[in-house]
C-alpha cells in the first residue's frame, strides 16, 4: 500500500479535517514521523523493542483441526501472543518512541476494548511518560479488567459520559484534551483513523504484522495464501496485515461487526479528522454502532480501507454477534486458542464463507488473530449462561 498524497489522501478519502488549533500539530507530527521513519537508528530501536520486549516475530500457526472442520486450510497470525495481548503494542511502541523524540512527556489515548489503552499505558511505563486514557463509560464497565491494568501501569483512565459512551465518544474527548494541551501533549491514536498522518503512520507501525505473516505463510504453504482475512473496527490490524499482501495475489477481506459496518452500511462522511465511510442518518448525524465487541463499536473506518473497498482491492464483510460467539467457541475447542471478540469476527467470516463455499474448499486462508480473549472471558461467560 502506498504513501498517501501530499494532502493525506488515499483516493478521495483521508485528509486533515481538524480545527485550526490542531492543524500545525498534525503537520509537525507528519514531519517528525517522516524524519524518524527514514532514520536507521529510529528503525533499529523500534525493531529491537518489538523483538526483545514485545516478543516479535509472533508465530503463524497452522490450524489442523479447524482446517479439517472447515475444509479450508487456516493459518493464524498470532498477534494474541504479542506483549499486552494484541497487535496494539506495535503501534504504541512506534508512537511512544516518536513522542520521546519530539520531546513530549504527556501522552493521551482513546480506547474501546481497552487493548490500545493498555498498550499505551505499557509503552508509557516503559519510557517513563505520563499517560491519560479516555474510555467510554460503557466500555469502562464491560472491560473493567483492562481499566485496572491501565491503573496498575500508572495511567489515569478518564470515563467518558457523553454521547453513546463508547469508542466514538472516547475519541471526541481525547481530541478535546488535545485541543487544550497540544503544545505539551502527544496524542497516541490507536487505529488507522484520524487526521493525516495518523492513518498512514499507524499502518506503517502495523506493517510488521503483514510483512512477517507473508514470509511465514509462504514458508508453510510454499506460496501466498488465497485469502487474507482480518477484523476491522478502525482497521489497524487489517491495514498492517494487508500491507504485507497487497502486492500478492491474495484476496483481502476485512470483517466488520454487523452493527458497526461503516463500509457495509455507511456513506462517505467526515468525523474525527478524516473523510471515510461513516454510519450516519439522513441528515449527516453520526449514528451509534452496536457490537458485542467494544473494539469494533465504532461508526467509522480508516480512510485507507474506504479506498481499498472503493478500488475493489479488498472486500469487506459483516459478522453478527451470534456468529462471533460461535466462532470463538469453535476456535477455542478445535485449537485451544481463545480469541478476542474482535478477532473472532475474522474467524466467524471464514467459518461462514467456508460453509457457504464463498471460500472454495481447499483454499488457503491466513487470518490475523489480532488479540487474545482473556479480556472478554467474563462477558462471554455472561452471554453463554444467559
Amino acid at each position: 500500500m502506498r504513501e498517501p498524497s501530499e494532502s493525506g489522501r488515499f483516493g478521495e478519502f483521508g485528509g486533515r479535517y481538524v480545527p485550526e488549533t490542531l492543524v500545525p500539530a498534525t503537520i509537525e507530527l507528519e514531519v517528525a514521523f517522516r524524519d524518524a521513519w527514514s532514520d536507521d537508528a529510529f528503525r533499529a530501536e523500534y525493531d529491537r523493542i518489538l523483538r526483545d520486549y514485545a516478543g516479535r516475530p509472533t508465530p503463524v500457526t497452522a490450524c489442523d483441526r479447524l482446517s479439517a472442520e472447515l475444509g479450508v486450510r487456516v493459518l493464524l497470525k498470532r498477534e494474541d501472543l504479542a506483549h499486552t495481548g494484541s497487535h496494539k503494542i506495535n503501534n504504541v511502541v512506534g508512537q511512544a518512541l516518536l513522542a520521546r523524540r519530539m520531546g513530549k512527556h504527556r501522552v493521551i489515548a482513546e480506547t474501546g476494548a481497552g487493548q490500545h489503552g493498555v498498550a499505551t499505558a505499557t509503552a508509557c511505563a516503559l519510557f517513563g511518560l505520563e499517560c491519560v486514557v479516555y474510555m467510554g463509560e460503557v466500555d469502562v464497565h464491560r472491560q473493567a479488567l483492562n481499566v485496572f491494568r491501565m491503573n496498575l501501569l500508572g495511567a489515569s483512565v478518564v470515563p467518558v459520559t457523553s454521547g453513546s459512551r463508547t469508542l466514538k465518544d472516547a475519541v471526541n474527548e481525547a481530541m478535546r484534551d488535545w485541543l487544550a494541551s497540544v503544545e505539551s501533549t502527544y496524542y497516541c491514536l490507536g487505529s488507522v483513523m484520524g487526521p493525516h498522518p495518523y492513518p498512514w503512520m499507524v499502518r506503517e507501525f502495523q506493517r510488521v504484522v503483514g510483512e512477517e505473516a507473508q514470509r511465514q505463510a509462504h514458508a508453510i504453504l510454499g506460496d501466498d495464501p488465497d485469502y487474507v482475512v482480518a477484523c476491522v473496527g478502525g482497521g489497524s490490524n487489517a491495514a498492517g496485515t494487508f500491507a504485507g499482501f497487497v502486492d500478492t495475489r491474495a484476496r483481502l477481506v476485512g470483517v466488520e461487526a454487523a452493527g458497526g459496518a461503516a463500509i457495509g452500511h455507511g456513506v462517505p462522511g467526515v468525523v474525527h479528522g478524516s473523510k471515510s465511510f461513516l454510519l450516519q442518518d439522513e441528515h449527516g448525524q453520526v449514528t451509534e454502532a452496536h457490537s458485542i465487541s467494544a473494539g469494533l463499536d465504532y461508526p467509522g473506518v480508516g480512510p485507507e480501507h474506504a479506498f481499498l473497498a472503493a478500488s475493489g482491492r479488498a472486500t469487506y464483510e459483516p459478522a453478527n454477534d451470534e456468529e462471533v460467539i460461535a466462532a470463538l467457541q469453535l476456535l477455542t475447542r478445535t485449537e485451544g486458542i481463545i480469541p478476542a471478540l474482535e478477532s473472532a469476527h475474522a474467524i466467524a467470516y471464514v467459518v461462514r464463507a467456508a460453509r457457504t463455499g464463498a471460500i472454495p474448499e481447499g483454499s488457503s486462508v491466513l487470518v490475523t488473530l489480532s488479540g487474545r480473549g482473556d479480556k472478554d472471558v467474563a462477558q462471554v461467560m455472561d452471554i453463554l449462561s444467559a
Binding site: S7, G15, R16, Y17, V18, P19, E20, T21, L22, V23, P24, A25, S162, G163, K168, N172, M175, R176, L179, A180, S181, V182, E183, V267, P268, G269, V270, V271, H272, G273, K275, L278, Q280, H283, G284, Q285, V286, T287
Partner: protein, 258 residues
C-alpha cells in the same frame, strides 16, 4: 453583507458583539435570538446541532444533545431562521459533516435561501475548504475562518486571504466554555491577525462576561460570546433575561471600547 456592515460599524468606532445560540433546543429559541438582536448584537451565530461537537465544552454539548433529542435537524433549524426577522446578519455554525453530507451547493443554497449570511465550520481548515468556499461564495454565503494561537504566520496569511465577514481569533487552546479570565494568548493572536489583514478581527472562545468582552475589545474589533449565553438559556432564562445579558455585554464593550 456581514463584512460590509462590520467594516462600516468598525470604521464608525463601534465594537462588534456576536453572541451564539444553539439552534433548536428550546421551543422559544428564535425568541431568544430576536431578543439578542434587539439588545445590541451586531450578528448572531446559530449552532446547527451535530452529533459529535468536537470543539465544544460541556455546556454547548448539552444544548446540542437536547436539541438533537428534540428532533432538531439542519433543515428544521435553518427553516426556523428563515422565519426570523432579526435585523442583523445570522451566521450558521456547525461541523463540516452536515455540510458535506448535504452537498456543498445544496447546503450553501439552503443557508442563503433562509437569509443566513455566513457560515463557520470549525473542523474545516482552509487546506480542506476549497470546494466549500467556492460553493458558499457562489451562493453569497460568507465563510468566517478561524485563526488559533498555534497558527504560524504563514498559515495566518492564507486564513486571512480566504476568510469572509471577519476573522475569528480563537482566544485560547481548548474547547468552548466560560473561563475566569481572558487567556493571554488572545491579545497576542489578535495583534498578529490585525497585522496581517484589514478584515474585522473578533475574539471568541472563553469570553464569559461584559468585563472580558470589554477587555478583548481593547485590542480586537469585537467579541463572540457563546457558552455564557447558552448556559443561561439552559438554566431557564427567558428571552428577556438573555436579552438583558446581551445588553449588559453591549454596555460593557461600549464603555470599555470608547
Amino acid at each position: 453583507m456581514i463584512e460590509e456592515s462590520f467594516r462600516e460599524k468598525r470604521d464608525a468606532g463601534r465594537k462588534l458583539l456576536v453572541p451564539y445560540l444553539t439552534g433548536g433546543y428550546r421551543d422559544d429559541w428564535t425568541d431568544v435570538l430576536r431578543a439578542m438582536a434587539d439588545a445590541g448584537a451586531d450578528a448572531i451565530e446559530v449552532g446547527i446541532p451535530f452529533s459529535d461537537p468536537l470543539m465544544d465544552g460541556p455546556v454547548i454539548q448539552e444544548a446540542t444533545r437536547l436539541a438533537l433529542e428534540q428532533g432538531a435537524t439542519p433543515r428544521s433549524v435553518v427553516a426556523a431562521l428563515a422565519a426570523v426577522d432579526a435585523g442583523v446578519p445570522l451566521v450558521a455554525m456547525t461541523s463540516y459533516n452536515l455540510c458535506f453530507h448535504a452537498g456543498h451547493e445544496r447546503f450553501a443554497q439552503m443557508l442563503a435561501g433562509a437569509g443566513v449570511s455566513g457560515a463557520i465550520l470549525p473542523d474545516l481548515p482552509y487546506d480542506e475548504a476549497d470546494g466549500w468556499l467556492a460553493a458558499a461564495g457562489d451562493a453569497g454565503v460568507e465563510t468566517v475562518l478561524l485563526a488559533a494561537p498555534t497558527t504560524p504566520d504563514a498559515r495566518l496569511v492564507e486564513i486571512c486571504a480566504r476568510s469572509r465577514g471577519w476573522v475569528y481569533a480563537v482566544a485560547l487552546l481548548g474547547v468552548t466554555g466560560e473561563r475566569a479570565s481572558v487567556a493571554s494568548s488572545a491579545a497576542e493572536l489578535a495583534g498578529r491577525v490585525r497585522a496581517t489583514t484589514d478584515l474585522p478581527v473578533l475574539v471568541g472562545v472563553g469570553i464569559s462576561n461584559a468585563e472580558q468582552a470589554a477587555e478583548v475589545c481593547e485590542y480586537a474589533d469585537g467579541a463572540i460570546v457563546g457558552t455564557a449565553v447558552v448556559r443561561r438559556t439552559l438554566e431557564g432564562a427567558s428571552p428577556e433575561e438573555v436579552g438583558a445579558f446581551v445588553a449588559d455585554l453591549r454596555a460593557g464593550i461600549d464603555s470599555g471600547g470608547s
